[in-house]
Subunit: 478 residues, 2 copies
């Protein structure tokens, strides 16, 4: 038995959601804490989940013509400072390299908190003609931001992400790119991670440092708090002007190109945990689960059981299903709990009686429902069950989002809802930053986004009562 | 036209190989220099090459049961110092982070030059029983080593790599792992990169800091110099003892596990360039080329030409070939030179006359040979040609290696060969470090490895004339 026994219970999620989260992250072997304060180790199971997310995103990026590149890890201080708003946003939270080997560096270098400045420097070198555009780049890497408080996946001093950076001939094309990439993120969440999103634009206060507009997909967690799922930024030609990026346009005139960037991080894994998890642990959507089916031999010392289990694995594997068999010397009960904790969507039990009846038993992780499956229908029924689980997880999360999104007309209503029920609040907003501030100070909520899908809630700002044309979704965010 | 025109000639490789290399790296759009001194930008074409290398390696790693993880980017100084030999090897060349945000750190952190110490710290946390073994981990990431002189791919202050780290119940199992992974590297080189290797073990002097034994695959470049292609290290239980990693063995006794690590880097791309390239630029092995076939429409303004080109692309794509069509407004001649520079293995030309004859023309990048292909045999013939190119590139490199590997019995013979012909020299060695030093000082060669395949060259050390049982391959290395 390992140090990491699975006999201890995890904290009840309805009693202490934060502690439940930490327990799941440890017990499902996703994360280990490292001696480097604020940095986490992504163990194989978490990394496999990230690889599946990467594979879907990378495929979608490439289908839209994007190419991957690798930029330097370190940024000279003078380069970071070239765009005023950007440096103000990031300089306070970067890590500084001051020595290389035994020598002090002539100029200190920061570990990239994001790579806009590096991409801009590169583009200033290589961009020449409208023929070179668009440049559709993406980078898979890690970035460092010196956070004071950290939590596995949700906030770390280092996190893995992808950062897309693109350069376009026209503003219109860049704006379209920004929306297209937001839609890629929405597809990832809704179709693969079974997480419904609210799509919209951030307010001025919440937008990215240096951007003209920041678009976002927002998720609601099981505890009704918001998690920002991914953002896509439109920069106009602001960075291009700051970095002197120009090209000869179709009339042979020197022109500034228009720019975007967009990113999604390993935070997403935190989102999966907090959206689908329950008191038995993780609960993974089949399309993204590292192991979709775990075969458990019952009474495995009996003749023929292990062989039959192998046969099932081979059949499922041949059908394109990610399947494993747990042949360890633990008891079936131990194994059931272990793979429930790890959120494996489907468990398939096979024992002597099953073999006699030419069947196996499938148990769903999401509902606990058990069903006998005739072995000659194995692949078809398992595939159908995995699809059912995927849809069912999405529907449950969608219901959580819908039932916990409520309209409010006044600040008092906002306060009442957030105190008594939590969740998302739809309220009108005049566009003033002081009203946003007021919502935060008095009700403890921040603007998550101005959703693309506006509803008719009223025509007065919930905070100041003045005329308001925009409906904002407010909430308490991770 | 871009700043990067393709009309200028590149330096003749036989006149100045180093300058030829730099020219190719720039002109084939593999690398851009960044403002972060000693750090390089891997442009899309280079990164696509790396992705293809990654895909093959990652598949082979996983087939052997390895799992990917993500470890922290930064290592506390005290952790780096836990294994004496290791810290001595790496501390002089690491980059130090001293500040996070505006605060000075209580302990400085180095950017990982390699991650043995981090893996060991993690294993000390999580390893408990023999049931947990083996732990077969790999990480894809970048590392930083503060080099004084740098060259694209070959030596940079940052490079991309994979680092495998494994922990085993027995020494025998760990030793087997070390050799298995060396064989994976050999397969990558020989079967995918068309680069023959010399497999062997490093001398004490050349082995990895902290290892008991370092195994290596060595390649010979076009200029007959050596490039270390990948290394695999056996650590015994040295790190385990230094970091207090123990497990309960099958007799329930606390025991130290045995450890390995192994890595391959983006240096490999430099090796591909210097093995296969010629005076027209890059020359990529089809199995690893980002674009295997470039279709060039001839007289593309004539009716039906672009449509036919699209048809060819669709057919080749459906046959699983990585194919693109260059429809830019450049001349065919410009396009020929451009895609030769980028080393695309096969060019397919299609013009009005070809369409009339229901054929296209295929031109091999490696030999320049042109051949008409009937369109109804397109996929079959293209596939066969790509295979021919792959084999032909390997055979050419193999011939270069064989013809430039020469035996020597004395130091004078070594000096004569290395001065007049270069290449690899096979010479006996007594095992003394002073003789290795002498070879370096007097002949300018280092020991590349003690090859697994030993030859009977003699029984006296070439350096000192004493009794010698080991044949070493010597050379001038990158």
């Amino acid at each position: 038995m390992g140090k990491e026994k699975n006999v201890e219970q995890i904290t009840d999620m309805d009693v202490d959601f934060a502690q439940w989260y930490t327990d799941v992250v440890r017990k499902a072997k996703l994360i280990d804490y490292s001696g480097t304060k604020g940095f986490f180790i992504m163990r194989p199971y978490a990394y496999a989940l990230w690889e599946n997310i990467q594979a879907e995103l990378d495929r979608m990026f490439k289908e839209l013509g994007h190419e991957n590149v690798s930029m330097p890890l370190l940024i000279p201080e003078s380069l970071l400072q070239k765009e005023k708003d950007h440096v103000e946003g990031f300089a306070p939270e970067v890590a500084w390299v001051t020595h290389g080997g035994s020598e002090e560096l002539p100029e200190r270098l920061c570990i990239r908190p994001t790579s806009e400045t590096l991409f801009c420097e590169h583009w200033a070198n290589v961009l020449s003609s409208w023929r070179d555009l668009p440049m559709l780049y993406n980078q898979w890497c890690s970035v460092v931001r010196w956070e004071k408080t950290t939590r596995p996946f949700l906030r770390g001093r280092e996190f893995l992400w992808q950062e897309g950076h693109t350069l376009h001939e026209t503003a219109k094309e860049a704006e379209e790119e920004t929306i297209n990439m937001l839609n890629v993120y929405a597809t990832l969440y809704e179709d693969f991670l079974a997480m419904p999103v609210v799509k919209g634009v951030k307010t001025e206060k919440e937008k990215f440092a240096g951007a003209i507009a920041t678009y976002t997909v927002e998720n609601m967690m099981h505890d009704k708090k918001a998690l920002q799922g991914g953002t896509s930024h439109y920069f106009g030609d602001g960075f291009a002007r700051a970095f002197g990026i120009q090209f000869s346009d179709r009339e042979n005139k020197l022109t500034y190109p228009h720019q975007t960037s967009w990113g999604i991080t390993t935070r997403t894994i935190g989102g999966i945990i907090m959206t689908h998890g329950d008191n038995n642990g993780l609960n993974l959507p089949p399309r993204i689960a590292p192991v979709q089916v775990m075969v458990i031999p019952i009474a495995s010392h009996k003749p023929g059981v292990l062989e039959k289990a192998d046969e099932l694995v081979a059949k499922l594997k041949a059908a394109g299903i990610r399947v494993k068999c747990d042949k360890s010397d633990q008891s079936p009960g131990w194994k059931f709990a272990e793979h429930e904790m790890k959120g494996v969507p489907l468990r398939v039990e096979i024992g002597p009686k099953d073999i006699e009846n030419n069947q196996c038993v499938a148990a769903r992780r999401d509902s606990g429902e058990k069903r006998a499956i005739p072995l000659d229908e194995l692949e078809v029924q398992v595939k159908a069950l995995l699809e059912e689980i995927q849809v069912s997880l999405y529907n449950k999360a969608k219901k959580n989002l819908e039932q916990n999104t409520r309209p409010a007309k006044t600040l008092d209503e906002v306060k009442e809802i957030i105190t008594e029920q939590g969740g998302f609040i739809e309220a009108m907003w005049c566009g003033g930053e002081q009203c946003e501030q007021k919502m935060k100070e008095e009700a403890g909520v921040t603007s998550r986004c101005i959703p693309f899908e506006q509803k008719n809630i009223g025509d007065r700002c919930a905070a100041c009562g003045e005329k308001a044309e925009k409906m904002v979704v407010w909430g308490v965010a991770y």
